[in-house]
Assembly symmetry: C2
Homo-oligomer: 118 residues x 2
DNA sequence: ATAAAGTTAAACCATATGGTTTAATATTGC
DNA sequence: GCAATATTAAACCATATGGTTTAACTTTAT
């Protein structure tokens, strides 16, 4: 079993990759396409974009390394699917901060800020 | 007023900046520090990190440009605070995908069950 | 006035990113 | 066998990123 520290580093690595993958509108558009219209092969996924096929292929690989896309290779056709699990990790990370943006708890946020003063 | 298309591009720009800002563990640690212990000046924020002060200063600027940190300048002291608004945008973006990861199989099972019911 | 403190600016470096174009590699179909 | 299809690999380019060190700037304190 991994030490807690090592697992924590892994978690950080995972979040790095997932947030990095999400930080590009082309990749977000690819995820959206997969979510709305389901799995598709690389050529289909690349068609709506103005960039070259290799560019989209590289974007898909970034998504795949982040665990956000899975790939089923059948002959020469690579069928890509949405793999939403890492988004649950994002949600988990985000949930820690929910109290800070929820409007009802704005007062709490201010209180914490003031509580920091001597 | 902006056209819908222009506003959408702005949204994409915002998400690009926010996801990019979150894609670094040092910056996530800074946000966590601000959330847990409240506002602090740059030197205080930089202290726990092994990197140089200018490096942390640059990370803070990335967070600030993403809207995740606000800065109050008083003399030579820059007090940084968590600015959680953009995290609500992340949550909004993410919520579209929640049906895909929140017990998708359970939901499908319930659907099939209902469909089978007399 | 001078020194110290808090912060950023500048210049620099190595590596990553996002794109291109031109191969190369498999697989399928005639 | 041969051509077309689906995809990646490679080489390349421009720019961004994350870090460094040294310098500059402003404010505070003695």
């Amino acid at each position: 079993m991994l030490s807690s520290a090592a697992r924590h580093l892994d978690d950080d690595d995972d979040l790095d990759r997932v947030f990095r993958a999400l930080a590009d509108r082309t990749r977000r558009a690819l995820l959206h396409r997969l979510a709305c219209e389901g799995s598709a092969m690389v050529t289909e996924l690349a068609a709506p974009f103005e960039m070259s096929l290799p560019a989209v292929s590289k974007h898909l690989k970034v998504l795949e390394r982040a665990g956000l896309v899975s790939r089923d290779i059948d002959g020469r056709v690579h069928t890509c699917s949405l793999a939403p699990r890492p988004l649950a990790s994002v949600e988990a990370w985000l949930s820690f901060y929910r109290p800070f943006w929820s409007d009802t708890l704005d007062a709490l946020a201010r209180f914490v800020e003031q509580d920091d003063a001597p």
